[in-house]
């Protein structure tokens, strides 16, 4: 349903065997990349994901470890004969970054549309994915992304009959339209069952812990959160450079009651993040010490039966 691939788990500097943090999402054929550092296009290739069909690239912020792969990926899209426009979305300042990018990637033969946002929260849709960008606490303006996929309500024929809805109106109402019919207002509610839980993923990196992450990650199916350092020395650096430790990230995952939590954006000084696994699992058992190419295919919960 919502295909998720964490292309890289590194922060700051790309390393042999650890790509920079970037997330690929695909839902019903709509594909989104969040962040694009140096090497992200190679990580996509390694995961056998074509960059040709990416609909949108989103940026959390404009530090180079999240952006420097943009000229290269645009040119590789061009070489794959892409003609479809691409949408690029990010905080204010995107226009300036794109000017710089286009001085390196001189000729891109498809349209680049872009949207900058500035508010504390910003909402937009890409295919069936609904995005909420929310402000984080980094050394520069930086946003997290909440991605939700709504689940349509089930058609309930019993309810439709109880409400005396003519059969030829069922399809129209099921699609969400309201109809005036023989003096009555027929609404979708009259033929649809209860609201059903959709999917929620939250991606938040390059930030100190903050309430916004906890709120947005509440009951999420997957929370991908920064785990830049694991030791005491790193903890100081995290406070100083506005990053998050593994311990802080796991605590948010616990507080927000997420189903699963992946670390990302490991510092190059963290040689083996699994060193901290035991300590982290004592905080939150649902935390995964994610690796490059970590994948999940998030699916809706099994439908509840009438007896539930």
């Amino acid at each position: 349903m919502l295909d998720v691939c964490l292309l890289g788990t590194g922060g700051t500097v790309p390393l042999p065997g650890r790509w920079l943090t970037s997330l690929y999402l695909n839902c019903a054929g709509s594909a989104v990349l969040i962040d694009c550092g140096e090497g992200t296009q190679i990580a996509l290739h390694q995961q056998r994901i074509s960059c040709k069909h990416i609909d949108a690239i989103l940026f959390t912020h404009y530090h180079a470890d999240h952006t420097a792969g943009l000229p290269g990926i645009l040119l590789t899209m061009a070489k794959s004969d892409r003609t479809d426009p691409i949408t690029i979305i990010g905080p204010k300042g995107l226009g300036e970054v794109l000017k710089g990018v286009m001085m390196i990637a001189r000729y891109v033969p498809f349209e680049i549309r872009y949207m900058e946002f500035d508010a504390k929260e910003e909402q937009f849709d890409i295919g069936p994915m609904h995005f909420t960008a929310f402000a984080l606490k980094h050394s520069v303006t930086c946003y997290g992304f909440e991605v939700t996929v709504n689940r349509t309500r089930r058609f309930d024929p019993q309810k439709a009959q109880q409400n005396d809805i003519p059969k030829r109106m069922w399809g129209i109402l099921q699609k969400g339209q309201t109809v005036e019919h023989e003096g009555r207002t027929l609404t979708p509610d009259m033929v649809l069952g209860d609201e059903r839980k959709g999917l929620k993923l939250v991606y938040a990196t390059d930030t100190r812990p903050c309430e916004a992450i906890r709120e947005h990650a509440k009951d999420a199916d997957l929370f991908i959160g920064e785990g830049m350092y694991g030791d005491e020395e790193g903890s100081e650096k995290a406070r100083h450079n506005k990053h998050m430790t593994m311990q802080e990230s796991a605590q948010i995952a616990l507080d927000a009651n997420v189903k699963e939590h992946w670390f990302t954006h490991y510092s190059p000084s963290v040689r083996d993040p699994f060193e901290y696994e035991e300590e982290i699992h004592a905080i939150c058992a649902r935390t995964v010490i994610a690796k490059d190419g970590q994948r999940a295919d998030l699916a809706f919960e099994h439908e509840e039966t009438k007896e539930d």
Copy 2:
């Protein structure tokens, strides 16, 4: 003496397992990088070469597969607490490219000096390496580089004595200075042996074959030349997009009588360049189907003895 590492052998697009074409040279502690595509800093890391001490970065031309790694490598140098200035050298247009780069790599805490050149040939020195940039034939302005390391002439005590040079003058003359002494002009020639062959390396990629490569590569110790395609279909593409085939490159190596020849800048469509090895060796037995990380340490020839 001249430590050579071909960091990557790819052209156009970086691939898993094949970095973009870039050359690292180190001679007596002076270090130079030629071209810097997306991922070059990771290739350096993989070869255990620190980017902190690179004195100069040279560009052949400004297609992104040769330049897009620049913002990332400058920031990685910054993170390694580099304070020494760096010199960047390339054809006209470098200033504009650097403007774009600095929109991505916002804050670099050391000085960036740069030099653009425009002439058909341009000469400059970096440590003991003498560079000649020479114009190639690509779709945009593009240069090859000839790198020579001169060998000092040997001190010849017999010659010094025959010329009746006082011993206290030997050291001064050996260093290349001319001295007026007791009414005589003493020159270095009076104490030095014959001229000795130095080292020569030539790097030429992204070009149609041309006479300039043949001239500069004449008798070179190492010629690193483009071998973008190996088959007939590629041959047409090479003519169209101003690249060089393996066969053309090997023919130049033969004509120029080079000691060794390495291919680079393979097209992503060339899955296995070794497929063409037999055919290429029928043209030039000294051609090496180079791989990422191909290394050589070029040394001066053994000194000739008096009897030779």
